[in-house]
């Protein structure tokens, strides 16, 4: 015991040193216990939230973990996808009742989803061309700015987004007469998309493209000496990642059926970065783990007796912030990460 107090790393040796295994077991058993305790209905809601955050964090991990660009503006692409979905699919008959009407198109979900993905990608190309020349702390600064700018656009471009009022009545997916209006069906849809995103990401990181990205992360100059066009690679992964975030945004808008700019503030973006770092940099599985921890943290905190219910979200932010500091001190690669920041 005394040895343990003097040298905390001895605790690692006691657990066989395999911190990854224990982190996995802990989070998964926590999730299972939670599901058993709270019942299936609650688990479905939780699962949908988890899947959307997981898509987001896998996509961000491609940029932060595999390419080494610490972006804290990713929530902007999420918002672009969500607003594209909202504007395209919002119920036209409902929109006509408002005083401050916006153009509504009443598209079906599956027609709007590619548009929100493509729009996020398009914006990412424009933004990426400008951002590509920056690195390290300047990159953090400009991506920070991007999050604030996209929030400002959502809030102030009232002719398109209705500003702070938000957009209601965003339609649920429907295909060939079969609607995903049940929560379970929607969860299944989101999980399918999550699986697709993971597959694509796995494909990227195991391909030669992914290996070049890792090389760029480790030493940009060396990679360019070997003849790789570094800026093209960085731009490509940035755009792919943004498109995944746009996909998550479209799903999110359709799931909540109401969005307003407050879902896309900078703090959410910082939370997203902390999820990615918490789970582990440069692992796809780690991002899932991080998103799971993030979701469970909030639900777990609801049952703390001394914490009023309206403060749960804030308390989770406090915990995540402190976790981030501790991780940076003791485990800069995150729980199951492969890349030390």
């Amino acid at each position: 015991m005394r040895e343990l107090a003097r040298n905390p790393r001895a605790a690692l040796r006691l657990t066989g040193g395999n911190i990854e295994l224990w982190a996995n077991l802990l989070v998964i058993s926590w999730a299972v216990a939670f599901m058993l305790w709270q019942g299936v209905g609650f688990a479905i809601t939780l699962g949908t939230v988890f899947a959307i955050w997981a898509i987001l964090s896998v996509s961000l991990n491609l940029v932060v973990g595999f390419s080494g660009l610490l972006s804290i503006g990713h929530i902007g692409f999420f918002g672009i996808g969500a607003y594209a979905m909202a504007i395209l699919t919002s119920d036209a008959s409902y929109e006509q009742l408002r005083t401050e009407a916006i153009p509504t198109l009443g598209w079906p979900f599956f027609a709007a989803l590619p548009v929100s993905v493509a729009l996020a990608g398009l914006v990412a190309i424009l933004v990426g061309i400008v951002f590509n020349r920056f690195r390290d702390d300047i990159y953090v600064l400009v991506s920070f700015g991007f999050a604030i700018i996209s929030f400002n656009v959502f809030l102030n471009w009232r002719a398109l987004t209705r500003g702070a009022f938000g957009i209601h009545e965003i339609s649920r997916p429907e295909i060939g007469g079969w609607a995903f209006d049940g929560d379970l069906a929607f969860l299944a849809l989101v999980v399918v998309f999550l699986a697709a995103v993971m597959l694509v990401s796995w494909f990227i990181v195991t391909s030669s493209f992914g290996r070049v990205l890792t090389a760029i992360r480790e030493d940009e100059q060396a990679a360019s000496v070997f003849g790789y066009r570094v800026t093209h690679y960085k731009l490509a992964i940035w755009v792919i990642s943004a498109m995944m975030a746009g996909l998550a945004g479209g799903l999110f808008a359709s799931w909540t059926s109401f969005i307003d700019p407050n879902s896309f503030i900078l703090l959410e973006s910082i939370l997203l970065v902390s999820i990615v770092i918490l789970g582990g940099l440069a692992t796809i599985w780690g991002s899932l783990l991080g998103a799971m921890t993030f979701v469970l943290l909030e639900e777990g905190m609801r049952f703390l007796p001394f914490l009023p219910n309206e403060y749960v979200g804030q308390a989770r932010q406090v915990v995540l912030g402190i976790l981030l500091v501790l991780l940076m001190l003791f485990r800069p690669q995150g729980l199951v990460g492969r890349f030390k920041l």
Binding site: V130, F146, L267, V273, S274, I322, L324, M328
Partner: protein, 449 residues
Amino acid sequence: MDRLLANPGRLLAIVLTTAVVAYIGWKVILSPEQALQFTFNGLSVGAVYALLAMGFTIVYSTVWFFDLYYGAAAALGAYGVFYLRSQEALGGQYQVNTPFVNVVFAAVVAGVVAWALHTAFYNRLRSRFSPTVLRVGGGLLSAGAGAYTGIILTYPKELHVILSPAVGLAVALAALWGLSLIYRRIIGNRGLRPFLWVAALGAVILGAYCGLLIAQAPGAKLYLSWAVSCLLAGAVGLALYRGLYMYMRQRARSPLVMLVASLGILLAITAFTTIVFQSAPRPLPEPFGSRPWSIGGATIKGFNVFTVGMALAGFFGLLLLLKRTSFGRAVRAIGDDEEVSKVVGINTTVIIAVVFFIGAVFAAMAGVLSGHDTAIQPRMGLLLLLKGWIASVVGGIGNLYGAIIGGFILGVVEQFGIWDLAGEWKDVISFVVLILFLSFWPLGLLPRK
């Protein structure tokens, strides 16, 4: 001309700058009065940005690290004033669950005082007293400082009475320091011992008089609360460096580690502020000079002039500190080469810790001043952080002259930019300024040599 054409980026930068200057000039000719109004607004906003940028710059030029805590420090400063003066702001003391927060701040202050006492006196006194005596004495003193902080935070109504001994002590010490300076410079070693005694007595009397004056002036509470909350935010900044960043700097592979850690701190403190004070915007009490003056068709509030004055005073104070004192020499030496300055015997830990303290005080002051100008909310720090950062990029990262110039330029450009657009786009304008500067003028107006 050939060189310009060979570098299209440079050319574009010049064209853009000319366009902006021409736009502003055109606006000035079009309606000079309104232009004057926008300039006044821009200067008073720019002063806040300049204060933040100076806080960033002094830290960045020393350890090459942007401390994101300063965003939280701005919010902490503003909310400190709000909490201490909620009597005036809301008409009744704001009911928050204070004991926990008070204990946290008291602990931080106690820790900082203990560290300061240890570094300043332990080695000097070790030969005369036993270590036990020193430890117990230092512990008692720092516990006393912590308890005093707790008392200040628990009874904000009697701020002027509770703080009067501290003010008296500070005035007496400052007077003693000044007099000893005079003694050393002018009278030197030629005796005149009685002068010292008389001077010491005079300093103590002056301190006591100032303390009494403060104790009988309830109007001073607002300004005392400024000092308290800025110093508390500064103490937190110092504690963060000494307790956290120092260890990270020793073992970190990349500067991003510290940046992410400070991001975590920003997240935690912002959320914590929201828990304690709720997220609704709140007012600060009216300071002096809230009646607008009319100058040449435009109006400006006395308080805004004061804000600009504070920025200038902070700038000149920092300049004197950095260029004229041995502390400033040490700071510049560490900025040039930390290893070598360690070798020549500069206590880098102490110097850098004090630099972090100064930076956080500047950031908190910026938060307080902007809080008096507009309403405060827990998220205000994030935006102020971005603006201060942009201002220091515009002026030239790591250059003190650049920080103040960049702050004022950013403020004025922002105000002129919203002339034709609506006011809510001003963040977008400053972001565009940032991108343009980073793309075409990455070292800023006044690059650090």
